[in-house]
Amino acid sequence: MSDAALETIRRCFCEVMEKQVFMFPEWRSHLDIPCGEEGFLGATIRFGGPLRGSLLLAMPPEVTRSVAANFLGLDDGDGFADEMASDALKEMLNITCGHVVAELCGRAQVVELSVPEVSALECGRVALLAGLGESLVFDVEGAPVLLRAEFERRPGPEGRPGAEGGP
C-alpha cells in the first residue's frame, strides 16, 4: 500500500472520529497493545467497485462504549450507550470506510459497501495485526485502536486505484 493511501485512511478516520464523536485519535508509529480483561471488539467491512478490499477497526470495549456515548450525546457509563457500543463501532467503521473509498477512488464511481460485522478479537491477534505494514495504530483517550486496510486492487501513488494485486 502506498504511503499516500495510508495517509488518506489515517486522515479520514481522524476526521470522522472528530466530527461524529468528538474524539481525537493520535496516530502512533508504534503502540504497545496491552491485554485487558475484555480483549478487543473488531468490526470488518468489505468494499467493492473500482477498489476492492476490506477495513478492520478494533477497539477495547471501553472505548466502544465511550464512542457510543459520544455518538448519542450521553454520559460515559450510561446503560443505553453501553448497549449501543457494538453498533457504534460498526457505524464508525461504516462512515470511515465510505470516506476512505470516496477519497481513494475519486467521487465519479459508485463503491458498494457491505454491512459491517463485529466479533471479539484476542489482544494477541490485534498486536500481531498492529505490527503489519497495512495497519494504523492510534491512541484514543489512552487506549490503543487499530485500523487496518486490505486491498485486492492496490491504490496507486496518488491514492487512486492502481495496479492489480495485493497491497
Binding site: 448519542l72 453498533d87 457504534a88 457505524e91 470506510c97 470516506h99 467521487r107 459497501l113 457491505s114 454491512v115
Partner: protein
C-alpha cells in the same frame, strides 16, 4: 403542523442520532417511526401514514436503493419524499439516487442543522 417521520437504518445508534437531530431541529414530529431495513420500512408505510422517509443505503435484507425502487412502483407510496442518509458520497451515486426520485442526500456525519434544512425544504414545499 406535525409530521410522521420514518427512519430506516440497520444501525440502532444511527436511528437514535437521527431521532436526536430531529428533536434538536425543532421540527414538530407527531410520530417517529423506525425500521431496520427496506422490507420492514415498506410494512411500516403500508400500515401508518408517513410524511417523509430518511433511509440509509447500506442495509441487510433490502437496501435503501431497493426500498426506493419498491416505493416508486407502488401507487400508494411513490409520492412519499425520501431523503437518503449515507456514508457514500460519489457523484455517480448522487446521480443514481436522483434518477430514482430521491429528494435529498445527507452524507454522514452531518450536523443537525442540515437535517432541519432538508426537512423544511421538502415538507415546506409540499402543496
Amino acid at each position: 403542523m406535525a409530521y410522521n417521520v420514518l427512519v430506516v437504518d440497520d444501525s440502532a445508534v444511527m436511528k437514535s442520532v437521527i431521532a436526536k437531530a430531529l428533536e434538536m431541529s425543532g421540527v414538530a414530529v407527531a410520530n417517529l417511526l423506525r425500521a431496520s431495513d427496506g422490507r420492514e420500512a415498506l410494512g411500516v408505510m403500508r400500515s401508518h401514514w408517513v410524511d417523509i422517509v430518511f433511509a440509509d443505503i447500506n442495509m441487510p435484507v433490502m437496501n435503501g436503493l431497493e426500498l426506493v425502487g419498491e416505493m416508486k412502483a407502488d401507487d400508494s407510496l411513490r409520492s412519499i419524499p425520501v431523503v437518503v442518509i449515507s456514508t457514500e458520497g460519489s457523484v455517480a451515486r448522487m446521480h443514481q439516487l436522483e434518477q430514482l426520485g430521491v429528494r435529498a442526500f445527507l452524507r454522514k456525519p452531518f450536523p443537525p442543522e442540515a437535517l432541519k434544512k432538508t426537512l423544511e425544504s421538502i415538507l415546506g414545499s409540499r402543496p
